[in-house]
Protein backbone atom coordinates (compact mmCIF):
# COMPACT_ATOMS: atom_id res chain seq x y z
CA UNK A 1 0.00 0.00 0.00
CA UNK A 2 2.75 2.42 0.97
CA UNK A 3 4.64 1.51 -2.19
CA UNK A 4 1.62 2.29 -4.29
CA UNK A 5 1.15 5.65 -2.58
CA UNK A 6 4.78 6.50 -3.12
CA UNK A 7 4.48 5.54 -6.78
CA UNK A 8 1.35 7.66 -7.18
CA UNK A 9 3.04 10.57 -5.50
CA UNK A 10 5.95 10.17 -7.88
CA UNK A 11 3.62 10.36 -10.86
CA UNK A 12 1.92 13.49 -9.49
CA UNK A 13 5.29 15.17 -9.08
CA UNK A 14 6.29 14.21 -12.63
CA UNK A 15 3.01 15.47 -14.10
CA UNK A 16 3.44 18.73 -12.24
CA UNK A 17 6.94 19.11 -13.65
CA UNK A 18 5.63 18.53 -17.17
CA UNK A 19 2.83 21.02 -16.54
CA UNK A 20 5.25 23.71 -15.39
CA UNK A 21 7.39 23.22 -18.51
CA UNK A 22 4.32 23.27 -20.71
CA UNK A 23 3.08 26.43 -19.05
CA UNK A 24 6.42 28.11 -19.65
CA UNK A 25 6.28 27.19 -23.35
CA UNK A 26 2.78 28.63 -23.73
CA UNK A 27 3.87 31.84 -22.03
CA UNK A 28 7.24 32.18 -23.80
CA UNK A 29 6.39 30.90 -27.27
CA UNK A 30 2.84 32.14 -27.70
CA UNK A 31 2.70 35.04 -25.29
CA UNK A 32 -0.26 33.66 -23.38
CA UNK A 33 -0.95 35.05 -19.90
CA UNK A 34 0.36 32.70 -17.24
CA UNK A 35 -2.86 32.70 -15.20
CA UNK A 36 -4.85 31.41 -18.15
CA UNK A 37 -2.74 28.26 -18.54
CA UNK A 38 -4.51 25.74 -16.30
CA UNK A 39 -4.89 21.98 -16.75
CA UNK A 40 -8.54 22.52 -17.70
CA UNK A 41 -7.95 25.33 -20.22
CA UNK A 42 -9.16 24.53 -23.73
CA UNK A 43 -6.45 25.31 -26.30
CA UNK A 44 -8.64 26.90 -28.94
CA UNK A 45 -11.49 28.41 -26.93
CA UNK A 46 -9.81 29.49 -23.70
CA UNK A 47 -6.28 30.19 -24.90
CA UNK A 48 -7.28 31.43 -28.35
CA UNK A 49 -4.65 29.34 -30.12
CA UNK A 50 -5.24 28.93 -33.87
CA UNK A 51 -4.36 25.80 -35.84
CA UNK A 52 -0.90 27.14 -36.68
CA UNK A 53 -0.42 27.99 -33.01
CA UNK A 54 -1.07 24.34 -32.13
CA UNK A 55 1.64 23.39 -34.61
CA UNK A 56 4.02 25.86 -32.98
CA UNK A 57 3.27 24.43 -29.55
CA UNK A 58 3.82 20.87 -30.77
CA UNK A 59 7.14 21.83 -32.37
CA UNK A 60 8.18 23.51 -29.14
CA UNK A 61 7.16 20.39 -27.15
CA UNK A 62 9.24 18.21 -29.47
CA UNK A 63 12.29 20.41 -28.97
CA UNK A 64 11.86 20.83 -25.21
CA UNK A 65 11.17 17.18 -24.40
CA UNK A 66 13.26 15.71 -27.23
CA UNK A 67 10.42 13.51 -28.46
CA UNK A 68 8.47 13.10 -31.66
CA UNK A 69 4.73 13.51 -31.65
CA UNK A 70 2.65 11.92 -34.42
CA UNK A 71 -0.31 13.84 -35.81
CA UNK A 72 -2.62 10.96 -34.79
CA UNK A 73 -1.67 11.41 -31.15
CA UNK A 74 -2.95 14.96 -31.26
CA UNK A 75 -6.51 14.18 -32.27
CA UNK A 76 -7.64 13.78 -28.65
CA UNK A 77 -5.71 16.74 -27.31
CA UNK A 78 -8.05 19.66 -26.70
CA UNK A 79 -6.94 20.95 -23.31
CA UNK A 80 -3.67 21.77 -21.62
CA UNK A 81 -4.21 18.79 -19.27
CA UNK A 82 -4.59 16.39 -22.19
CA UNK A 83 -1.38 17.74 -23.71
CA UNK A 84 0.42 17.32 -20.39
CA UNK A 85 -0.80 13.72 -20.08
CA UNK A 86 0.28 12.91 -23.63
CA UNK A 87 3.74 14.32 -23.00
CA UNK A 88 4.05 12.56 -19.65
CA UNK A 89 3.12 9.25 -21.28
CA UNK A 90 5.90 9.72 -23.82
CA UNK A 91 8.70 10.50 -21.40
Amino acid sequence: MEDLLLKLRGIVVEVNEVFEKVKKLFVDELGIEEDKVTMEAKLEEDLDIDSLGIVEVVMAFEDEFEIEIDDEELTDVGTVGQAVNLLHSKL
Binding site: E29, D50, L52, E56, M59
Partner: protein
Protein backbone atom coordinates in the same frame (compact mmCIF):
# COMPACT_ATOMS: atom_id res chain seq x y z
CA UNK B 1 21.36 42.48 -39.13
CA UNK B 2 19.33 39.79 -40.85
CA UNK B 3 20.78 36.54 -42.11
CA UNK B 4 20.13 35.12 -45.55
CA UNK B 5 20.94 31.72 -47.03
CA UNK B 6 21.24 31.59 -50.81
CA UNK B 7 21.33 28.04 -52.13
CA UNK B 8 23.39 27.79 -55.29
CA UNK B 9 24.78 31.15 -54.26
CA UNK B 10 28.18 30.90 -55.91
CA UNK B 11 27.26 31.19 -59.57
CA UNK B 12 24.93 32.93 -61.99
CA UNK B 13 21.72 34.32 -60.52
CA UNK B 14 22.59 33.06 -57.04
CA UNK B 15 25.89 34.93 -57.10
CA UNK B 16 24.18 38.17 -58.08
CA UNK B 17 21.63 37.69 -55.29
CA UNK B 18 24.35 36.93 -52.71
CA UNK B 19 26.31 40.02 -53.65
CA UNK B 20 23.27 42.27 -53.69
CA UNK B 21 21.96 41.07 -50.33
CA UNK B 22 25.49 41.36 -48.94
CA UNK B 23 24.87 45.11 -48.82
CA UNK B 24 22.15 44.70 -46.18
CA UNK B 25 22.37 41.20 -44.67
CA UNK B 26 24.74 38.57 -43.36
CA UNK B 27 25.02 36.19 -46.28
CA UNK B 28 25.54 32.43 -46.25
CA UNK B 29 26.63 31.54 -49.76
CA UNK B 30 25.45 27.95 -50.26
CA UNK B 31 27.41 25.82 -52.71
CA UNK B 32 27.36 22.17 -53.69
CA UNK B 33 30.50 21.76 -55.79
CA UNK B 34 32.01 25.17 -56.52
CA UNK B 35 33.67 26.02 -53.21
CA UNK B 36 36.25 28.25 -54.88
CA UNK B 37 33.55 30.27 -56.59
CA UNK B 38 31.66 30.56 -53.32
CA UNK B 39 34.83 31.83 -51.62
CA UNK B 40 35.19 34.46 -54.34
CA UNK B 41 31.63 35.66 -53.72
CA UNK B 42 32.36 35.84 -49.98
CA UNK B 43 35.51 37.84 -50.72
CA UNK B 44 33.59 40.31 -52.89
CA UNK B 45 30.95 40.81 -50.19
CA UNK B 46 33.61 41.35 -47.53
CA UNK B 47 35.51 43.82 -49.72
CA UNK B 48 32.31 45.82 -49.94
CA UNK B 49 32.06 45.91 -46.16
CA UNK B 50 29.57 43.06 -45.69
CA UNK B 51 29.62 39.82 -43.75
CA UNK B 52 29.50 36.46 -45.48
CA UNK B 53 30.50 32.82 -45.24
CA UNK B 54 30.61 30.01 -47.78
CA UNK B 55 28.65 26.98 -46.67
CA UNK B 56 28.35 23.56 -48.25
CA UNK B 57 24.81 22.36 -48.89
CA UNK B 58 23.45 19.41 -50.85
CA UNK B 59 19.72 20.10 -51.00
CA UNK B 60 19.03 16.46 -51.87
CA UNK B 61 20.24 15.42 -48.42
CA UNK B 62 18.28 16.19 -45.27
CA UNK B 63 21.44 15.71 -43.25
CA UNK B 64 23.41 18.18 -45.33
CA UNK B 65 20.60 20.75 -45.08
CA UNK B 66 20.60 20.37 -41.30
CA UNK B 67 24.39 20.76 -41.10
CA UNK B 68 24.29 23.82 -43.31
CA UNK B 69 21.63 25.51 -41.18
CA UNK B 70 23.56 24.72 -38.00
CA UNK B 71 26.78 26.24 -39.36
CA UNK B 72 24.96 29.40 -40.39
CA UNK B 73 23.21 29.62 -37.02
CA UNK B 74 26.55 29.24 -35.24
CA UNK B 75 28.24 31.90 -37.36
CA UNK B 76 25.45 34.48 -37.57
CA UNK B 77 21.94 33.79 -36.30
CA UNK B 78 18.91 31.82 -37.39
CA UNK B 79 18.06 32.29 -41.04
CA UNK B 80 15.57 35.11 -41.62
CA UNK B 81 15.61 35.02 -45.40
CA UNK B 82 15.86 31.93 -47.57
CA UNK B 83 16.57 32.10 -51.28
CA UNK B 84 15.78 28.75 -52.90
CA UNK B 85 17.94 29.13 -55.97
CA UNK B 86 19.83 25.83 -56.32
CA UNK B 87 18.75 24.09 -59.48
CA UNK B 88 19.89 21.71 -62.17
CA UNK B 89 18.81 20.78 -65.69
CA UNK B 90 18.89 17.42 -67.42
CA UNK B 91 17.19 18.17 -70.70
CA UNK B 92 15.76 15.73 -73.17
CA UNK B 93 12.77 15.62 -75.44
CA UNK B 94 9.91 14.16 -73.42
CA UNK B 95 9.53 10.77 -75.14
CA UNK B 96 13.23 10.18 -74.51
CA UNK B 97 13.36 11.58 -70.98
CA UNK B 98 14.77 9.00 -68.57
CA UNK B 99 13.15 8.54 -65.21
CA UNK B 100 16.51 9.00 -63.46
CA UNK B 101 16.80 12.43 -65.08
CA UNK B 102 13.25 13.24 -64.04
CA UNK B 103 13.98 12.12 -60.46
CA UNK B 104 17.26 14.01 -60.18
CA UNK B 105 15.81 17.31 -61.37
CA UNK B 106 12.67 17.07 -59.23
CA UNK B 107 14.67 16.00 -56.17
CA UNK B 108 17.03 18.95 -56.43
CA UNK B 109 14.78 21.71 -57.73
CA UNK B 110 11.49 20.95 -55.99
CA UNK B 111 12.08 18.56 -53.09
CA UNK B 112 15.32 20.40 -52.26
CA UNK B 113 13.31 23.57 -51.71
CA UNK B 114 10.87 21.61 -49.55
CA UNK B 115 13.75 20.48 -47.33
CA UNK B 116 15.34 23.90 -46.93
CA UNK B 117 12.05 25.75 -46.50
CA UNK B 118 10.71 23.35 -43.90
CA UNK B 119 13.87 23.75 -41.86
CA UNK B 120 13.84 27.52 -42.27
CA UNK B 121 10.23 28.20 -41.25
CA UNK B 122 10.84 26.65 -37.85
CA UNK B 123 12.84 29.68 -36.75
CA UNK B 124 10.90 32.14 -38.86
CA UNK B 125 7.71 31.13 -37.01
CA UNK B 126 9.46 31.66 -33.69
CA UNK B 127 10.76 35.04 -34.79
CA UNK B 128 7.44 36.01 -36.34
CA UNK B 129 9.25 37.27 -39.45
CA UNK B 130 10.57 35.61 -42.54
CA UNK B 131 11.08 35.86 -46.28
CA UNK B 132 11.23 32.92 -48.66
CA UNK B 133 11.97 33.43 -52.33
CA UNK B 134 11.77 30.62 -54.83
CA UNK B 135 13.71 31.03 -58.05
CA UNK B 136 11.43 29.30 -60.52
CA UNK B 137 11.50 29.86 -64.28
CA UNK B 138 9.27 30.96 -67.14
CA UNK B 139 9.51 27.28 -68.11
CA UNK B 140 7.38 26.57 -65.03
CA UNK B 141 4.68 28.89 -66.34
CA UNK B 142 4.77 28.21 -70.07
CA UNK B 143 6.62 24.89 -70.37
CA UNK B 144 9.71 24.58 -72.52
CA UNK B 145 10.63 22.08 -75.19
CA UNK B 146 13.11 19.53 -73.87
CA UNK B 147 12.52 20.51 -70.26
CA UNK B 148 9.51 18.53 -69.02
CA UNK B 149 11.33 17.63 -65.79
CA UNK B 150 12.69 21.12 -65.23
CA UNK B 151 9.38 22.82 -66.08
CA UNK B 152 7.43 20.48 -63.79
CA UNK B 153 9.84 21.08 -60.91
CA UNK B 154 9.68 24.84 -61.42
CA UNK B 155 5.86 24.81 -61.63
CA UNK B 156 5.81 22.76 -58.44
CA UNK B 157 7.64 25.55 -56.64
CA UNK B 158 4.73 27.87 -57.39
CA UNK B 159 2.26 25.61 -55.56
CA UNK B 160 4.68 25.23 -52.69
CA UNK B 161 5.27 28.97 -52.38
CA UNK B 162 1.59 29.87 -52.57
CA UNK B 163 0.65 27.33 -49.92
CA UNK B 164 3.38 28.50 -47.54
CA UNK B 165 2.17 32.08 -48.06
CA UNK B 166 -1.34 31.09 -46.95
CA UNK B 167 -0.26 29.00 -43.99
CA UNK B 168 2.34 31.33 -42.55
CA UNK B 169 1.19 34.80 -43.54
CA UNK B 170 -0.16 35.36 -40.04
CA UNK B 171 3.41 35.10 -38.74
CA UNK B 172 4.74 37.80 -41.09
CA UNK B 173 6.37 35.23 -43.30
CA UNK B 174 6.06 35.98 -47.00
CA UNK B 175 6.73 33.52 -49.77
CA UNK B 176 7.13 34.60 -53.37
CA UNK B 177 8.33 33.23 -56.67
CA UNK B 178 10.56 34.78 -59.30
CA UNK B 179 10.28 33.31 -62.78
CA UNK B 180 13.35 34.39 -64.73
CA UNK B 181 13.31 34.23 -68.51
CA UNK B 182 16.53 33.94 -70.50
CA UNK B 183 19.27 35.14 -68.19
CA UNK B 184 22.91 35.16 -69.22
CA UNK B 185 24.42 32.48 -66.91
CA UNK B 186 26.26 29.15 -67.13
CA UNK B 187 22.87 27.47 -67.43
CA UNK B 188 22.16 29.24 -70.73
CA UNK B 189 25.76 29.37 -72.01
CA UNK B 190 25.17 26.45 -74.37
CA UNK B 191 23.06 28.70 -76.62
CA UNK B 192 24.86 29.87 -79.75
CA UNK B 193 24.60 33.39 -81.11
CA UNK B 194 21.92 32.49 -83.60
CA UNK B 195 19.77 30.90 -80.90
CA UNK B 196 20.27 33.97 -78.73
CA UNK B 197 19.14 36.21 -81.60
CA UNK B 198 16.02 34.08 -82.00
CA UNK B 199 15.23 34.44 -78.33
CA UNK B 200 15.77 38.19 -78.31
CA UNK B 201 13.38 38.43 -81.24
CA UNK B 202 10.57 37.18 -78.96
CA UNK B 203 11.25 39.72 -76.23
CA UNK B 204 9.83 43.21 -75.70
CA UNK B 205 13.10 44.37 -74.14
CA UNK B 206 15.64 43.55 -76.82
CA UNK B 207 18.38 41.96 -74.79
CA UNK B 208 19.09 38.79 -72.81
CA UNK B 209 18.55 39.22 -69.08
CA UNK B 210 21.36 39.86 -66.60
CA UNK B 211 21.60 38.17 -63.19
CA UNK B 212 21.23 41.65 -61.68
CA UNK B 213 17.76 41.93 -63.23
CA UNK B 214 16.80 39.13 -60.85
CA UNK B 215 18.78 40.21 -57.79
CA UNK B 216 17.17 43.66 -57.82
CA UNK B 217 13.63 42.35 -57.37
CA UNK B 218 14.78 39.69 -54.92
CA UNK B 219 16.36 42.39 -52.80
CA UNK B 220 13.07 44.30 -52.70
CA UNK B 221 11.02 41.20 -51.87
CA UNK B 222 13.37 40.45 -48.96
CA UNK B 223 12.96 43.89 -47.45
CA UNK B 224 10.41 45.24 -44.97
CA UNK B 225 8.92 47.36 -47.75
CA UNK B 226 7.47 44.25 -49.41
CA UNK B 227 5.56 43.02 -46.36
CA UNK B 228 2.16 43.13 -48.10
CA UNK B 229 3.29 41.06 -51.10
CA UNK B 230 3.02 37.30 -50.75
CA UNK B 231 2.12 34.19 -52.70
CA UNK B 232 2.92 35.88 -56.01
CA UNK B 233 4.82 34.89 -59.10
CA UNK B 234 6.96 37.55 -60.76
CA UNK B 235 8.18 36.80 -64.26
CA UNK B 236 11.38 38.74 -64.96
CA UNK B 237 11.78 37.95 -68.60
CA UNK B 238 11.93 41.06 -70.77
CA UNK B 239 8.32 40.56 -71.76
CA UNK B 240 8.62 36.95 -72.96
CA UNK B 241 5.44 35.73 -71.24
CA UNK B 242 3.35 38.85 -71.88
Amino acid sequence: MRTVLVTGGSRGIGKAISEKLGQTCNVAVGYSSSKEKADEVVKTIKENGGKAIAVSIDVTSQESVEQCFESVENEFSSIDILINNAGITKDNIFPRLKQEDWDAVVDTNLTGSFRTSKRAVKNMMKNKWGRIIFISSVAGISGNTGQANYAASKAGLIGLAKTISKELGSRNITSNVIAPGYIDTDMTSFLNDEQKEDIIEQLSIKRVGKPEDISNIVSFLCSDESEYITGQVFPVDGGLTT
